[in-house]
Every structure is written in C-alpha cells, then in structure tokens.
Symmetry: C2
Subunit: 343 residues, 2 copies
C-alpha cells in the first residue's frame, strides 16, 4: 500500500519536481522543505522506483570498482575502510556498486567491459602506479571517473583526490631531524605504487635540506602486514649502524616494527623514535599502542566518502566540486618520538 511520487506530492502540497529534487539532494531545496519531504517519506514508506527511474533517465545509479585478485594477492584492510566511506555516501543517494574482480594483468580490459556494460554511471580507480596505463584508458572511455591518488609522470589532467604524501613524510622526517636524528629508516609500501615513491621522496627532500643523503640500506618496500614490519625492523637493528628513527607507511607495519624494537630491548621514544602513517583504521589506533605513536594522519574513510560525493554529484548534476584535491595529512605528535640518543 505504498504511495507513489504523485500521491506523496499531493499529500505535501508540493510539486512532484520539488519532491523529487528534495529526495535527490538538490541544493536549491530549502532545509525546511527537505525535512518535511523526508518526514513524509518515513511515515508513508514511499520509495522511488529505481527501475522506473533507470528507464526514464538512462542512469544505472551505480559506481563501478575493479578489484585486482589472484590466489597470491592478500586482501587489503585499507580497501575495506575506503569502501565503507564510499558506501556511507552512496547510501544517502540510493546508489550501489558493481565490483568486478580482475586478474592484475587484465585490469584495463576489465575497465573497458565495465564501462561498456551500461551497468555503471561512473568508475573509481585506485592503487596508482607510475605512468599508470589505466588513466589514458579511462580518459578514452566516455564515462566519468575519479582517481584515488595520482599517477607519476604524464599529464595531470584527470580528476583525483590524493593525500600529499611527499609533504606528509617530509614533515615527519623534518621533525626527526630537528630532534637530532640522522639515521632514519623507512618501511614503505609496495615499491611500484605512487604513494610509496612520494613518501620516500619526502624523506629524501628533508634529508637534503640537512645536507644528508638517504641510505638505501635503510629503506624496505613491502606489503602492509605486521610480519613485514617485524622482519624489516629486525634486519635494520642487526646492521652495524642501526637507525635511531623509523618512518612507517602504515600502523599495521608499525605493529611489527614495535615488536622487533621491544624484543631488542630498546625503548621507543628514548632509544629509537617511530612515526607511522595513520589511515584511521578503527581496528588499530595509534593512540593505543603501548607507547602511543606519532603519526601523519589522513582518514581513508573520509576520502572514500568524498570521492562518492564527487562522483554522484557529477552523475545527478548536484553542483560543482573541485576536480583535483590534494589533502594535507596532519602530523600528530605522541610519545613515540623524542630527541636522538647520544652515542
């Protein structure tokens, strides 16, 4: 016994267009009207008929994602957190996702098929590599997209949202240098990903300002697991000139690194300083480490929500958003950083 749009509009004494605009989040509908419409939706159980809307508008009300998968590829906890942000925003506009698994070497073809399927109105692209071949492909397809991250090399003429990773690790390294540290190690993300390259660049830039050079033996690239963090730190500590400070590309890596430091009998914040990048994963908070971690912080979930907002605004013509956004990470000092130990 649900009402339709016409009946809902009559009930409210509003035009169908106004009700429809209120429901689709158009900014020109004032807050009071929107509240009345939403109240009426709740009491009447009105639900827009997506199938009818799809026929009428030619829109799928859907965003496409490609998920690289192979038996050797681990699931990525960061993906789930980002997806939660996307989903939170998609829910507000009754959008869904089409998730296409793809072999890593077949991603370009998967994007082409997704765009051609008519099942999605826009696609989303992440895990940017250097000179990423997927960007020219997406530009050639007639479908809107937003990139999470940025490629390196090639023209930067596409819509993106990225964290300023160079700046984040420049800021972090600068703090360590100001505290007197000179041997700074880096446990980074996978080497082929653009954010890893940029974070390393940030460290190098800060070292250069101090007249120092990066010691490549103090840089490891790896997947974001506890185990790699542990192994990397252990091998750094076994070297003749061990580092007095560590930059970590994620709190998950920091977990393992902290364990290696503890096992070596060193005190974090006194014998060795640690700064990690914090994506604000709910399962692992830097403030809850035994020695609370100094971090560069930028919420992955907020990034997901923002990208969904921009994609959906583009599809439904809900207003203009900046096409390129570079977020600055916050540097939050906690107990894991201190003056360099005297040697």
């Amino acid at each position: 016994m649900a009402v339709n749009l016409k009946q809902l509009a009559e009930l409210l004494g509003l035009s169908q267009t106004t009700v429809s605009r209120a429901l689709n989040g158009y900014p020109e509908v004032n807050a009071e009207t929107r509240r009345r419409v939403l109240d009426a939706v709740r009491t009447t159980g009105y639900r827009p008929n997506r199938a009818a809307q799809r026929l009428a508008t030619g829109k799928a009300y859907s965003i496409g994602l490609v998920m690289p998968i192979a038996s050797g590829i681990d699931s990525d906890i960061h993906f789930g957190e980002f997806l939660a942000g996307l989903a939170e925003e998609a829910l507000k506009h009754d959008f869904h996702f089409v998730l296409n698994p793809s072999a890593p070497d077949d991603e370009e073809a998967t994007f082409r098929r997704l765009a051609a399927s008519g099942n999605v109105d826009a696609v989303f692209l992440a895990y940017m590599r250097q000179n990423d071949p997927r960007i020219p492909i997406l530009k050639s397809l007639s479908i809107p997209f937003v990139v999470h991250g940025r490629s390196m090399g090639g023209p930067r003429d596409y819509p993106f949202l990225d964290v300023d990773n160079t700046r984040a690790f420049y800021d972090a390294a600068k703090l360590l240098l100001q505290l007197g540290h000179r041997r700074i190690a880096l446990i980074n993300g996978p080497e082929h990903l653009a954010f890893s390259v940029r974070r390393k660049k940030g460290l190098m830039r800060a070292l250069e300002e101090w007249g120092l050079r990066l010691d490549e033996a103090l840089v490891h690239h790896s997947e974001m697991t506890d185990e790699y963090g542990y192994r990397s730190m252990q091998s750094f500590l076994e070297r003749p000139g061990p580092p007095t400070a560590l930059l970590c590309a994620s709190t998950v890596l920091a977990l393992g690194a902290v364990r290696a430091i503890n096992q070596a009998g060193l005190v974090i914040g006194r014998d060795i300083s640690v700064i990690a990048h914090d994506d604000v994963l709910p399962m692992l908070r830097p403030e809850n480490f035994s020695v609370p971690l100094t971090t560069t912080r930028s919420s992955l979930r907020a990034a997901g929500a923002r990208i969904a907002t921009r994609l959906i605004a583009g599809i439904l013509n809900l207003g203009d958003y900046p096409q390129q956004e570079l977020w600055r990470a916050e540097l939050i000092v906690r107990a894991s950083t201190g003056s360099a130990p005297e040697r």
Copy 2:
C-alpha cells in the same frame, strides 16, 4: 581481431558445446581438452561476450551482497578477507558482484529490491543473528542464496556454510581445563551475532563437563578491535579473582589483550594462557605474536571461495554441492598456552 566461439572451436577441431563447457568449468570435460582450450584462449585472445550471453541466457553473471553501513558502523577487516575469497572464485567464471549499501534497519527491503532488480542471479547473506528475520525473506524470494553462518532458532532448512563455533570454543576451553585452568575469561564478538552466542556456549559446555559454571563477570562482548581487547583484559585483571586463561574471538582482540597482559607484568603461557580464534587474516598472523598464539583456525577467505563456488555452480548448473556445510576449526597449539599457575 579477436576470434569468436565458432572460430575458436574450428581452430581446435572441437564442437562449440565442448569449448563452451571447458570454459565454464564443467566437470565432464577432461583435463587435457580443458588445457588445450585454455591455451587457445590465451593465444587468440578469445573472450566470451557477456552482454550477448546475458541476453541469450537471461543471467546477470552476478552475485548480490548487502553491506550494512551507517556513520557509526566501523568497517570490518573480516569482510575484506571474505570478499577476497568470493572474488578469487568469481573471477574464474567471469562473475561480478553487486554491492548494495544499506542502513542496518533497512536490510530486508534492500534484499527485496536486489532480488527484484534482475541485476543478480543469487545473493549472499552473513552476520547471522538469532532468529534472523532475513532468512524467511530470502526463502520467499525466488532467487538462490547461501548463508555464511547459521541463525539460531527456527527451522534449519536453508543453504549455509558455517564454522562449528560451539565445537571450536568447546575444544579450546577443554584444553585449558586439562591444563588446570578454572577461571577462564572470554572476550567475545558482538552479543547479537550467532557466532558469539555459539562460542560462549562452547565454553559453557566444557565448564559444565568439569562441574564448573561460567562466571558472567568474566565475559565481555565487543567489536573486533585492538582497543576493546585491551580494555576488556585490563578490567579482567583488575578484578579480585583475575582469570588464569583467556579465550578471544579474534586475533585483533588478542592484540589488545596481550598488551594489557604485558603491561600488568604477566608472562603469557606461564602466568596466563591465551587462545584466540584465527580467521587467517594476512595482516596479522598468530605465529608472529611475541609469544605465538594458540588458536582455533578457520580461513575466512576459503569460506568466501567455497560460497562463491556453490552459488556459481547453482547458477550455471555445474554440478551438485552439499547444501549445508559445517566446517570444523583446527585447534593449533603454540606457546601462549601452558599449565595453570599454582596459587
């Protein structure tokens, strides 16, 4: 210049039906023929035309998922791991997923819309609650489904894959009792979820066999985060009769619990024993804890792959699989368990 099915079949000297069956994984095609077909697919770049197949067969080649989301709901790392398993198997059959975000109180309606949309051939259901209202709804919709987990109460006449959680925590508790422990604490998952109820039941059953009763003050329910694990363990240790052993519903909870134990100056495996459930999350392995953790182990990724196999086999008529599966978790003993301390 890609070949079509007819050309591919001619090239191989096989019928189109045989080639098609080989590609769709039918068991009656022998291994050698399958290998020849797959080699030819690689060299010719043949790709089945999904849009045409969809028209011809009326299938969407898609599995529907509902993702509960709200601004207060944390992303769940376990979901990502399960999805990786689903995706690994879906990729083999060129299936994709339709992921519908839903407010938690609107899940039933979301399933109805998903089934009615024609966008999916089957749906998947998880996070089972007691007397779960979604099961009768799914049974009433004319769409195949598999449940990950089992509800409690009501008839058990639906397809499911579950881990025997009662058995897993019964086995774990029994080992602790054999080691002389009598005060066993439990940091469990959310109270409304069926797996939490069953794990608690397993503990109670083992205690009863020893003529003991569960002390409700030693049971906490919470989300699966490091922080909750830490807080729960800390509060247990502050009690007048602290536990000498702990069961943890996940390795993530164990992370926080271990930290609280270390901070209290207790030695794991000597002063207090710990057993955690291990979903085999790649980012956090129990064998890499400072004191390697004894666990009840069952791979979430393997469960995801198995559910995808069963759903896809049902959709494409690829053969029969059991409709109800109860997997037994392995109890793997490592250094975190030892004899109860003398008091």
